[in-house]
Symmetry: C2
Subunit: 353 residues, 2 copies
């Protein structure tokens, strides 16, 4: 009984608190380890070159639901979300390893469908599958991907380089993947209560596609290279625009503001948010899984981004004391709150063994 | 219903057949991808240097049982089994990433215990933990580790370099980890039928330790380096001595024989095998999880291995036509059968969802 005193529930810490606590005392020792835990990818030093390494785990019932996720899309997404982390370091992904554990309810044909998506992502992003592990699982599916990328060491962009006065930019648009998930969940519930009803996904291609089959920021990185400049800090938006801005601010020791009216939101996202009685900006700021790039640039590079296709200037980096603020279209200034995903809190303990 | 025609059960193929089938059409394209799927680790070319990458997934209920696996040992083993793959390429592991998915039944303190083992392995093998993912799981624990190592490109040893006349060598001893598992499973069953009985693990430290907390072949690699030679082919024995010899033979296009009397078996393994009514050589040849190194050397390097500590000459590489044979102590010659682990077959479908 006394054993249960001083025990900490993993829910209390959340993912980032947990990683911090578990790894706080770990010191890296090898000279080739240039940057360890704490950015989108680790950086290994190979002469003048940097090798970038990033890894992610996707668990059935937490990160995906096979009731509405085609296996081919799942394979594609498993790869892309990892490549996104390499691009976020201003690197080019080159290789991946992929491990999958599956229960024996899956047929070889189902696995082949999954790998079709994996191979398509590899082809589209010019990445090689170099290894992995295929094993069984008593229940459900677990996927683990490690992506390896390359960059010139001096061109690597970290979360920590933003400074007051830098301009805050974002690619693409936000909130679509989150609303795509809401639609899929809604149709699942309808189907579960009445299997005779066909899912109503008409005209939802765009936002459902953003959830099921995201793409990563290759073109953005190519543009930086072509125009000979690079961001001062960068992150890929997986947890949510606000949450990922908080990562940049914390690791750069700065504040920031975002102008509400400048946050790009797709018309379909806007329409669907209203259907769900949600303010579109809330979905855009907190939704997550956009896999867009959020970055800051030195003001002297402003001319480069002003005409950069699909890139929006959404705010500015400020001093740490100024906090992290939202300038609303109504003229108010609010403190932003990082919500992001907390898988531990989302997880229903009653499902547990 | 027609959907179920032509479906292939994953059980029918087994792990290796499955990987072969899934990846057979995949072609690598990046010039830095020197060797992809099919060896203990992938090889990336970085100038004159090789970067070695290996990954493994460990699933609760398949690869480990938390009823008798202390979390610290599990953390240690998760790292070591991956380092073993890097040593098997004649490389030095330098970094790992580690992802873990856990259900919320685990406390932060339990996770810290797991990471204690991870950090101890990192310290013992001088390896840096550079990244990973911590997420929740609806049920059970999944662990994925990717190990990264370095070697001179020309010194990398593949499974494919063995040639007839080469001498077949092995480090350490075989069968202990398998019998350790049998003891733990037996004590678990006794405990389940009568929780009042304490487990009887006395005098089983060695073989139980080989199962719960294996070590990898760092010293062997160091010896090769120090004495300026290298094997013609090498593999780490995870699937079982026979099964892993088959990998070398298949990939080198050769045959081989093992002399039964030369296979090193620890006295405790021998004793315990007899208690389980098992021929010790059967446990040694098919047990698996030994994490010893099996390698072939050119006869001109014989003087180097003759006095190599903990290394045994167990047979010879022959022509492919000669097959893969066991020369028994009784003077007979048998065809060897690769059994190895087939997790898919071991998995009980009734446990499935």
């Amino acid at each position: 009984m006394a054993d249960n005193f001083n025990k900490t529930d993993v829910n209390e810490l959340g993912e980032f608190g947990l990683i911090d606590r578990l790894t706080q005392e770990f010191v890296t020792e090898n000279p080739s380890t240039h940057k360890g835990i704490g950015d989108d990818a680790a950086v290994l030093k190979m002469g003048e070159k940097a090798l970038l390494v990033s890894t992610d785990m996707l668990i059935e019932g937490i990160h995906f639901d096979l009731m509405y996720t085609p296996l081919k899309h799942l394979g594609y997404k498993s790869v892309v979300v990892n490549l996104s982390d390499i691009y976020a370091m201003n690197g080019q992904p080159k290789q991946i390893t992929l491990s999958i554990a599956i229960s024996s309810k899956y047929t070889v044909e189902a696995l082949e469908e999954f790998y079709e998506g994996v191979f398509l992502a590899c082809k589209n992003y010019k990445v090689d599958l170099i290894g992995g592990d295929t094993t069984s699982s008593p229940k459900g599916m677990s996927i683990s991907v490690t992506a390896i990328g390359e960059a010139d060491l001096e061109k690597v962009v970290y979360r920590s380089g933003a400074k007051p006065g830098d301009i805050l930019c974002a690619t693409g648009n936000f909130g679509a993947a989150y609303l795509g998930l809401q639609i899929l969940e809604r149709e699942k519930q309808i189907y579960l209560s009445n299997p005779g009803i066909q899912p109503d996904l008409e005209n939802q291609d765009y936002i459902v596609g953003r959830q099921l089959r995201p793409e990563a920021g290759r073109q953005t990185i190519g543009y930086f290279e072509k125009h000979g400049f690079r961001p001062t800090a960068m992150i890929d938006v997986s947890d949510g625009l606000t949450s990922d801005l908080f990562h940049i601010c914390r690791q750069s020791g700065v504040g920031a503001y975002i102008e509400e009216g400048k946050v790009p939101i797709h018309p379909d996202t806007e329409k669907m948010a209203l259907q769900f009685n949600m303010d579109p900006i809330t979905a855009a700021l907190n939704g997550g899984e956009d896999y867009e790039l959020l970055f800051s640039i030195d003001p002297s590079d402003l001319e480069h981004v002003r005409y950069m296709p699909g890139v929006f200037i959404i705010g500015e980096i400020t001093k740490a004391d100024d906090g992290i603020k939202l300038h609303t279209t109504g003229g108010n200034i609010h403190d932003m709150q990082a919500q992001g995903w907390n898988h531990f809190k989302n997880n229903n303990p009653s499902k547990d063994n």
